[in-house]
């Protein structure tokens, strides 16, 4: 069975500080990977997706970047946090590209920027 793990569970960071969030998928080779952001009480906004190692596509610009250093790992980062970065960050994976490929979500990381 596939498992998805996100770290850390929660972060409290200062404005202007750097950030790195991680996501690991186990039990599935060559998954498509995704990062989403959810404001408190809001909907989900897709940020990035990756079809293969080393290749990441940006969906929306939020002064964040993403990388896929390994087949099973997806990293979200920024060098300088803004207050607007606060929220819930969700990693997801899907088994293949295609409209019918449902996405499976991780438990999320809650980020508070002060």
């Amino acid at each position: 069975a596939q498992t998805i793990h996100q770290w850390p569970v929660a972060e409290i960071k200062a404005v202007g500080s750097p950030l790195s969030l991680g996501c690991t998928i186990k039990g599935k080779s060559s998954p498509n990977l995704y990062w989403y952001w959810q404001a408190t009480g809001g909907t989900l906004q897709q940020l990035f997706y990756s079809i293969t190692v080393g290749q990441v596509e940006s969906v929306v610009q939020l002064n964040l970047s993403a990388s896929r250093p390994k087949d099973d790992q997806f990293i979200l980062s920024t060098e300088k946090l803004l207050l607007s970065h606060s929220g819930f960050y969700l990693c997801a994976w899907s088994p293949r590209t295609g409209g019918d490929a449902e996405q499976f979500f991780g438990p999320g990381t809650r980020l508070t920027v002060l």
Partner: protein, 114 residues
């Protein structure tokens, strides 16, 4: 562009009563539609998915949804609500073959009266 509208931000039902959560989509072509549930402070779980075919789709925990092309709708239903169904429900649409782009609605918060 694809979009999803969930017109009800909040729905309250009594335990044991029936439930319908509304979802309207906008998409040129055949959409792939999904319902996800988010329990407090958790990630999203897939309830059900629609692929072109039978308009009524069965999901987990007694949920079902009906696709209507004429009404551009994909409403979620349950015959008898349980207190554990208290959560936020998201409708989402995906575009074939670019399945990596999943667009979510704003969510409907379901409250269950004991």
């Amino acid at each position: 562009a694809q979009s999803v509208t969930q017109p009800d931000a909040r729905v309250t039902v009594s335990e044991g009563a029936s439930l319908q959560l509304r979802c309207k989509y906008s998409y040129f072509g055949t959409p792939y539609l999904f319902w996800y549930v988010q329990y407090p402070r958790q990630g999203l779980q897939l309830l059900l998915k629609y692929y072109p075919g039978d308009p009524v789709v069965q999901g987990v925990n007694g949920f079902e949804a009906e696709f209507s092309k004429s009404n551009s709708s994909f409403h979620l239903r349950k015959a008898s609500v349980h207190w554990s169904d208290w959560a936020v429900y998201f409708c989402a649409v995906s575009m074939f073959p670019m399945g990596y782009k999943l667009t979510f609605g704003t969510g409907t918060s379901l409250l269950v009266d004991p």
